[in-house]
């Protein structure tokens, strides 16, 4: 635990430095892409725990984001709505105003999403494969429909006027936290149990691993960080609407995972960065050669080619590490003569 705190302090200092550097020297468009990458990393890494480690195909991530975004906005934003009884606009001052209210507001959003994760997870995680995917997709849709019909928080028009609290520092502080936690999770009793469930659920249960409970825990964990990411996105875009969190957002996160390699955290990070930055980079190429729309064609082509030639994703289930690089050097193979007599 001591080591964990030192890593955290050093990492946050680095993030602080990077934030200062970006704000001082780099143009705001690039900074924005960097920030969006950070949010994507939080989403992909947290979904990796559910889809990659535990093998539960969830398409509900956007729903958890939406809950996190709206709940945190509820705490930080001056809400204005038309009150029928008084026949005039009413504004409600934020409960947690100012920079220092931001983190508690984000965490409240994360917790609300986590509660939703438990509520959805307990009944649906008995479902397997496609059925679970459909059920979680349905959950996401229910969330957006409920928001659409809730006039006090802007309904279909969305909620404007969120304060711009999501700095590079806060986004990457949470990136550090989710990456560290997920890494620790993966390499612990808890993570091994999740992988065991993915690999063979029956054998895991016979070994005494309570599969249903572990799956719900993985779901809650993923939902919490999706909620945080939603809150960060909201306070970056400053306007949120149900459309921000439609099912395409969930699909997008799944694609990041699949691109990087389901089950690999470093793969998830690379997938998140590539799929967030690539469309932006291609935007420049597009305007350069004067062919609008070519961006999406290239983007789709990259994905299709990848799925044909490397369906397990760039990293498979491996983690990018010095050891992996070392293995590429010949002559270092472990001695393994096989089991023949």
């Amino acid at each position: 635990m001591g080591r964990m705190i030192s890593i955290l302090v050093v990492a946050l200092a680095v993030v602080f430095g990077v934030n200062w550097f970006l704000d001082s020297f780099i143009d705001t468009y690039v900074v924005r892409v960097v920030n969006l990458c950070g949010i994507s990393i939080i989403l992909a890494v947290s979904l990796n725990v559910i889809n990659g480690l535990c093998g539960q195909f969830s398409l509900g991530h956007a729903g958890f984001m939406a809950i996190g975004a709206y709940v945190s906005a509820y705490f930080t934003t001056t809400l204005r709505y038309f009150d029928e009884a008084q026949a005039k606009y009413v504004s409600v001052e934020p409960l947690l105003g100012g920079q220092w209210g931001f983190v508690p507001a984000l965490i409240a959003g994360g917790l609300a999403a986590a509660v939703a994760g438990a509520v959805v997870g307990i009944p649906t995680l008995r479902l397997k494969g496609d059925y679970l995917a459909i059920a979680t997709l349905g959950f996401g849709e229910i969330v957006t429909i409920m928001i659409t019909n809730f006039e006090k928080i802007g309904g279909a028009n969305g909620l404007p006027g969120l304060p711009a609290y999501s700095s590079t520092f806060w986004i990457y502080a949470f990136v550090v936290v989710v990456v560290m936690f997920s890494w620790y999770l993966q390499r612990s009793t808890f993570g091994r149990a999740l992988i065991a469930i993915r690999e063979n659920e029956l054998a895991a249960e016979v070994m005494g691993i309570p599969a249903s409970r572990m799956k719900v825990m993985a779901f809650i964990y993923g939902a919490f960080f999706a909620g945080i990411a939603g809150g960060l996105l909201g306070h970056l875009l400053q306007t949120i609407s149900p459309a921000t969190f439609n099912f395409m957002k969930s699909i997008e996160v799944v694609v990041m995972l699949v691109l990087g390699g389901l089950g690999s955290m470093t793969g998830a990070i690379v997938g998140a960065i590539v799929l967030t930055a690539l469309p932006e980079a291609l935007r420049d190429v597009e305007s350069g050669i004067g062919l609008p729309g070519v961006r999406m064609v290239v983007y789709s082509l990259v994905l299709i080619l990848l799925m044909i030639f490397r369906p397990q994703g760039v990293f498979g289930q491996k983690e990018l590490s010095l050891k992996l690089l070392g293995r590429l050097i010949p002559g270092r193979r472990a001695k393994d003569s096989g089991g023949e007599e």
């Binding site: 635990m1 080591r3 964990m4 936690f181 620790y184 999770l185 612990s188 009793t189 808890f190 993570g191 091994r192 149990a193 992988i195 065991a196 993915r198 690999e199 063979n200 029956l202 054998a203 895991a204 249960e205 016979v206 070994m207 005494g208 691993i209 309570p210 599969a211 825990m217 964990y221 089950g263 289930q317 472990a334 393994d336 096989g338 089991g339 023949e340 007599e341």
Partner: protein, 254 residues
């Protein structure tokens, strides 16, 4: 000798098929007991009922005085019954050591918080699991392979790893479903010595399903024979070998 496991009139039906019919078994503590029978006799189905995978249509299973039927596999594991699978079910992407460690999982009082915040308990539990797992890999002669992914193991070693993983749950009873299947003569000899050692050194009761008659007859003290879900014989290896009904079941089936 006290009874560790007892089944009474255990029956399961799949649609019209009665796969196991009125199965009675009394397993003494510390016994090495064989369950044999031709293909499709219902042996694996018995294991599935003993370990909470299938719910019997009728009858009871008692282990150590507790009623087992109605429990789920996790509860049965906690009670001290572990098993291997006829069609190997390892966690392929985990390493050999990690596979064995998952067996020790159930005795950990570890939660998500410990894992995330690396509390002292986390390190203690990791070490405990690693020690148990490593000891059992050594016991099964797999310690050299601890770092390999389970999927990289050759067939015979995969079967042994399944036994190591089951032993890591620290069971009172281990049910082995055709552990010698696919092994060559040398591996089989080594395996039968290991099964004896499980009982003699680890003091674990063994219930063994095996088609290899030489192995079963060589190590089991008592044997029960199933045919079409019904018990047709029960006795010492010698009695079983000379039982006309058993000979009929095996020869008639060919």
């Amino acid at each position: 000798m006290s009874t560790l496991l007892a089944t009474e009139n255990l029956t399961i039906r799949f649609g019209g098929l009665t796969a196991v019919d009125g199965f009675c078994l009394k397993l003494h503590e510390g016994e090495l007991f064989g369950l044999i029978g031709p293909n499709g006799a219902g042996k694996t189905t018995v294991f599935n009922m003993l370990t909470g995978v299938y719910l019997p249509s009728d009858g009871t299973v008692h282990c150590d005085g507790c009623l087992v039927n109605g429990m789920n596999p996790v509860q049965v594991a906690r009670l001290g019954v572990s098993r291997t699978f006829q069609n190997i079910r390892l966690f392929d992407e985990l390493s050999v050591l990690e596979n064995a460690m998952t067996g020790a999982h159930q005795h950990s009082r570890i939660n998500l918080f410990d894992s995330l915040f690396r509390t002292p308990r986390h390190y203690r539990e990791e070490k405990r699991q690693r020690d148990i797992a490593y000891r059992l890999l050594e016991f099964m002669g797999l310690e050299d392979r601890a770092g390999l992914a389970a999927k990289q193991l050759p067939y015979g070693h995969r079967r042994k790893l399944e036994i190591a993983r089951a032993l890591a749950t620290e069971p009172k009873l281990i049910c082995l479903d055709e552990p010698a299947a696919g092994m060559n003569t040398g591996e089989k000899a080594e395996l039968s010595a290991l099964i004896r050692k499980i009982r003699d050194e680890l003091k674990i009761t063994v219930l063994l399903i095996e088609h290899d008659m030489k192995l079963v007859m060589g190590i089991c003290e008592r044997i029960q024979v199933l045919d079409y879900g019904k018990t047709i014989a029960l006795g010492t290896p010698k009695e079983i070998q000379n039982d006309p009904k058993v000979i009929e079941a095996y020869l008639g089936g060919e």
